[in-house]
């Protein structure tokens, strides 16, 4: 019986799952599509992590160091192209720089993550592909990482910056009915970073509901408002039009019940999460169920948050739905325990049968 576990995806969930497998005496093959490890936080240039503002790269380095282990076979620039077999013996075809190889593994962890919502799909008129100064949360991250937050159209320091929440989330018309969980916190974090970097710049966050669960309330939301003078306005924006070289945003101030038309220099769209291309592809190859949004389905919820519809295949991180990093690495540990346990013959009764 094969004793290795295939971990698909080298982002935070996959890195932590592989590390955890090795730490409890298992063996892992970790495959990553890109030629570097780190996943979306690396690929999308995350600057500082919510809520404690530590460097994203420093945090990823800790995770990367965790997979430097003889029990972990790390293969970058490699993807899963085929799979057969079942719990205890899956034959998986991996395509990498040296061509295709087939490996036998006892169980599998899917950690293929999410992608940011493409704001070209939103139904409002935010004009992401039309106005250079309309950007997304990851676009802002990239500028913050370079310590150079400016108006992309002309390189000038913005006087007014607005964040618009729930872009691509909580929207029946788009088909993304779910809350993406992290955007309220990430926007508030970026707002703090902008205020620190540019003390003369005014920063506004336009929201429907601020969803700062747990400690993000006092660790991010309150400091943004109380210490960094970020202005929160309840009401969402419907339309952005160019006016005299700036951006006129039209919305409603719902607390006051009044229309709102204000000029901004940079508008950041707080884009939510959608299943990544890899998540969709891998779900198809492995034959595991996806929910109506394309994320990996979890038939054993709420008490089993890692077992997929196929026995022996588990999921960790945002491949199963919007997640922050705390939940992602926590889930990775649980997936590792389940995957090792499955090989050792202790598959939890009932798991995976929905």
């Amino acid at each position: 019986m094969p004793d290795s576990i295939l971990v698909i995806g080298g982002g935070p969930a996959g890195l932590e799952a592989a590390r955890a497998i090795a730490s409890i005496g298992g063996k892992a093959i970790l495959v990553e599509r890109r030629d570097v490890l780190g996943g979306t936080p690396d690929e999308s240039n995350y600057a500082a992590l919510t809520p404690r503002m530590g460097s994203a790269q420093d945090a990823l380095d800790v995770l990367r160091a965790g997979v430097v282990d003889p029990a972990i076979d790390v293969r970058v620039s490699t993807t899963l192209t085929a799979s057969s077999g079942s719990l205890g013996d899956f034959a998986v075809t991996l395509s990498g720089p040296a061509g295709e190889t087939t490996e036998h593994v006892g169980s599998i962890i899917v950690a293929t993550g999410f992608q940011h919502f493409d704001p070209g799909r939103e139904t409002q008129m935010y004009g992401y592909y039309e106005h250079a100064d309309v950007i997304t949360l990851p676009d802002a991250e990239k500028m913050l990482k370079e310590h150079h937050f400016v108006r992309p159209s002309n390189g000038e320091i913005p006087r007014n910056v607005a964040f618009i929440q729930c872009v691509g989330s909580r929207d029946r018309r788009l088909g993304n009915e779910y809350c993406s969980k992290v955007c309220c916190g990430v926007a508030s974090k970026e707002a703090i970073e902008i205020r620190r970097m540019l003390p003369d710049t005014k920063v506004y966050i336009f929201y429907i509901d601020m969803r700062m669960y747990g400690f993000w309330e006092n660790e991010i939301y309150w400091p943004a408002q109380e210490e960094h003078n970020v202005t929160y306005i309840r009401g969402i924006v419907t339309e952005i039009v160019g006016k005299d070289g700036r951006l006129l945003m039209k919305g409603e101030d719902t607390t006051m019940g009044r229309p709102l038309e204000v000029l901004m220099d940079v508008i950041v769209l707080s884009v939510g999460m959608e299943p990544s291309r890899g998540t969709r592809d891998v779900a198809g190859i492995l034959g595991i169920d996806q929910n109506k949004y394309g994320f990996i389905a979890l038939p054993g919820e709420p008490m089993d948050v890692v077992s997929t519809s196929v026995p022996g295949i588990f999921v960790a991180g945002a491949a199963a739905g919007p997640k922050d990093l705390e939940d992602t690495v926590g889930m990775a540990g649980a997936a590792a325990a389940h995957a090792v346990g499955a090989i050792r013959g202790s598959l939890r009764a009932g798991a995976g049968v929905g």
Partner: protein, 433 residues
């Protein structure tokens, strides 16, 4: 020494919504002193009742994001806003006695942007229907309902007069009951195109254009009745069904290949509502019908005009046709087409839809400016000022609405209003000597 001072008992102060002192009414929403300051009850019956109505279900779904408000044409001119309707209902207002019930034009722009798909195109008719049943309808609208019931058109004119416009068309306009043979096109002329002094110009232009193109067409003539769609959206679903029944009876009596209509509201009715009542067939708005013929139209003169186009809500946003009218306009020699800021899916409503055509007096009491006036200002800013600017339209409600608005906004001489068919007809005539 002590004096008797009046004792203020706070819990006995009665706060009034309305107050009349010495015969002077001093109440008003501006005066917080006389309004109920505290919400003391949050009854849920209004929401339960509205969502129990067929069509009212989505009223509950609002999560108060406010995206609807900036795109609502009525909010630009008053306190109304779709989000606020939900807030009112949540607080126990069933809208039956609220003027807001009649301000929505069912233009559909809020529905377009709503992440929860709250749909006033279904909600408003459902609640209005209940108001109709309770007899709580603004007088001017009741008069129109009565006219529609009695004579099949909102003006209350005789059905026989529906064809009076033909006399000045300059071409033969066959009436299907008289020619006794199948035709390719049954042309549904519509109410305002048949009866309204200004609307008739479009009917005559259409007759001439179709004749020049050699199209085999006929009209229903006195058998034609109002399509009923605006009555339906204004809450008179029974009346709508009665009118539909009469039209369907006429449609079924004759053989034709396509139904071509002048009025986007009729287009909406025939395409989306009549099938459930028993009639299904190919129906085209006249711009859709004529667009494939642009290369065959023999233009004889150039109009030399700056033209902007007003998307009718029930042709554009609510039925997705933006290209055909523009294709026609671009084909007319001498038309320089410019778009207004609110265009296509975000087109600004003229105020005539959903019964608004028949509620101008009522609505005027609750808004600062008519929607048609606001739209005319936008058109003037786009193509107006020197007199060569044209606001082109493709809905029979609009020539008279917008011409009134041109006058009332002081833009006489700066902007003219023309149906697209009138511009086509004009360019098909030889140049003026």
């Amino acid at each position: 020494m002590s004096r008797d001072l009046p004792i203020l008992k706070v819990d006995q102060i009665h706060e009034l919504e309305h107050a009349v002192v010495d015969g002077v009414d001093i109440s008003g929403h501006w005066n917080r002193m006389f309004s109920d300051r505290s919400t003391t009850a949050l009854p849920t019956e209004a929401m339960d009742w509205i969502t129990s109505l067929d069509g009212g279900e989505s009223m509950r779904d609002c999560y108060q994001c406010g995206k609807c408000v900036p795109v609502c044409p009525v909010q630009h001119v008053g306190d109304y806003g779709p989000r606020k309707l939900n807030a009112k209902v949540v607080r126990g207002n069933d809208l039956i006695d609220d003027p807001d019930l009649w301000l929505c034009t069912t233009c559909g722009n809020c529905y377009r942007v709503c992440p929860k798909e709250v749909n006033p195109l279904r909600i408003m008719p459902a609640i209005r229907e209940q108001a109709v049943l309770q007899g709580k309808v603004p007088d001017e609208l009741s008069d129109v309902f009565r006219n529609l019931q009695k004579s099949g058109n909102p003006m209350g004119e005789s059905p026989r007069k529906r064809i009076d416009w033909i006399a000045e068309a300059g071409v033969d306009v066959p009436i299907i009951s008289q020619i006794g043979r199948p035709v390719d096109v049954l042309w549904y002329v519509s109410d305002y195109t048949s009866y309204h002094p200004r609307g008739k110009d479009a009917a005559r232009a259409m007759a001439r254009v179709m004749t020049a193109l050699g199209i085999d067409f006929a009209i229903l003539g006195p058998e034609e009745r109002s399509d009923g769609d605006s009555a339906r959206l204004a809450g008179e679903s029974g009346l709508f069904e009665l009118l539909a029944e009469q039209n369907i009876k006429a449609f079924q009596k004759y053989e034709f290949k396509q139904l071509v209509v002048m009025d986007p509201h009729a287009f909406n009715a025939f395409k989306n509502q009549y099938p459930r009542l028993g009639w299904e067939g190919e129906v085209l708005h006249y711009t859709q019908f004529l667009a494939p013929f642009v290369d065959k139209i023999e233009f004889q003169s150039s109009v030399d005009l700056d033209v902007t186009y007003h998307d009718p809500c029930y042709l554009g946003r609510n039925n997705g046709e933006y290209d055909a009218p523009r294709k026609l306009l671009e084909a007319i020699p001498g038309v320089r087409l410019a778009e207004m800021p609110h265009t296509k899916a975000n087109g600004y409503c003229c105020g005539g839809g959903g019964g608004g055509m028949w509620l101008d007096g009522f609505v005027a009491e609750h808004v600062s400016e008519r929607l048609s006036e606001r739209r005319v200002r936008e058109a003037v800013a786009t193509v107006g000022m020197d007199g060569s600017g044209v606001l082109s339209v493709a809905c029979p409600y609009e020539p008279s609405r917008f011409e009134d608005a041109v006058k009332s906004t002081g833009n006489d001489g700066r902007l003219v209003v023309r149906d697209i068919i009138e511009l086509i007809d004009q360019a098909m005539q030889p140049p003026a000597a």
